[in-house]
Symmetry: C2
Subunit: 261 residues, 2 copies
């Protein structure tokens, strides 16, 4: 039996490379997981600038230059095989969800590794704040909101947020704890009023699963690493490859590397 | 007579646009000043990635896309005229130090605005830590050290650091205060041992002026915004235009915008 929380990142990547397909929540505790986006070099400056202008949804942890398939965040790994499942877009439209992208790979693809809220969720739990979607065994609920990201060149799109219900007495702690992780989405972008974000029904997320919101809990919204894929859908580069939701790259970086004092 | 500390950034930029030439230390107190680098679009991804990989020396505050001469950090301004003095490089060699770059401007130039330690110097002073070069009326001493930045594409170069002597009893405070400003170089990269950085003689800086180091003071080293120009000198793009040392762009952003809780 696999001990997922205790597995080293290199071993986890090897398992996915060898064909295992499952979401990565709970794997390799203490190590940072990353959202992935590979796009052609001709779009790379526009996307990196988009990320620079929208650091809360798109915090860049590392970049593999054109054609590179490995790097220090995935030592000995291969970005074409080490993510459990991918999403392939052509002209902004999803065309495939393969478990290996070797057949799609091109030497002009630049790969961006983007921070993931799994890092601060561990810190929230350590701070005594329960994570509803983990306790309920589902994916985090995510919503496209009525706020556009700052555009950059040909890249534009709405911000996507994730939502976690937090007991009113712990909202301040949740803000304080996550603000110490600016490289993995940081402090919430909004607390308490979904209507102001254009969200009509919290029980119908745009990505992921709905969660129950107990009485006395406040919906708290953080910028989300699905935002780059929403930008791909709006901006329509000829080819783009991301991870499939919840199926992240497990990196060799430690969560604690991203902690600001 | 001009009241430099009280002048609004827009008025300061207008004064420089109208021909005033002087260093900007002490101008527009409370507003962030920026290092400037304009390079051709074909080098823009490499440089933005260089900055992403070296965030301590190259924290990006904003980017003007190819051909843009103004933006939200310099509302109503013009990047070709609003810096008091510029440095022009061709193939990595300094060729001019004009006060207006309209004659060099090209529509493919992308401009990077990079955080400046003037922001955290104000916070250090507010924290009761004297700044030697300010008190001694000279420019901060800067040194190219024996540590190379992480390269990106065609961009590479040594890290440049600035040095401030700090009383031993206040070193911890200086670290704590500057670590709260990660967007303007953040915490020191080194404390106390210049030889380990390859600095043989603190009295002979590579840029700026030497300062006296009183007994009981420790030399503390921060990453410096001159690093991008050192990378230009090593990497030799066909054209690059920076600010002249100490002659910064005064932006509309407030120092407090860059404070992490």
């Amino acid at each position: 039996m696999i001990n997922r929380p205790a597995m080293l990142p290199s071993a986890a990547r090897e398992a996915f490379r060898d064909g295992l397909v499952e979401p990565t929540a709970g794997w390799s505790r203490g190590y940072a997981q990353a959202n992935v986006l590979s796009i052609p070099r001709e779009y790379a400056f526009d996307f990196l600038l988009f990320a620079q202008r929208n650091p809360k949804p798109c915090p860049i942890l590392g970049v593999l230059e054109a054609g590179e398939t490995t790097g220090p965040l995935l030592a000995g790994g291969d970005i074409r095989t080490d993510v459990p499942r991918y999403t392939v877009y052509r002209d902004g439209v999803k065309v495939d969800e393969p478990t290996d992208i070797s057949g799609y790979w091109r030497d002009d693809l630049v790969t961006f590794l983007i921070g993931c809220s799994f890092t601060f969720e561990a810190a929230l739990q350590d701070g005594g704040i329960a994570i509803a979607h983990i306790d309920q065994g589902v994916n985090v609920p995510m919503y496209s909101i009525n706020r556009q990201c700052a555009p950059a060149g040909r890249m534009s799109g709405p911000m996507v947020v994730s939502m976690r219900p937090v007991p009113a007495s712990q909202v301040a702690d949740a803000v304080r704890i996550t603000s110490r992780y600016p490289a993995v989405h940081g402090a919430p972008v909004h607390v308490g009023n979904p209507a102001e974000l254009g969200i009509r029904d919290l029980s119908r997320p745009d990505f992921g699963d709905a969660v129950d919101i107990p009485d006395g809990h406040i919906p708290v919204f953080w910028a989300c690493g699905v935002t780059p894929q929403a930008a791909v859908m709006q901006s329509c580069p000829p080819l783009a490859i991301g991870h499939a939701p919840g199926h992240m790259l497990i990196t060799d970086a430690r969560d604690s590397d991203y902690l600001i004092p």
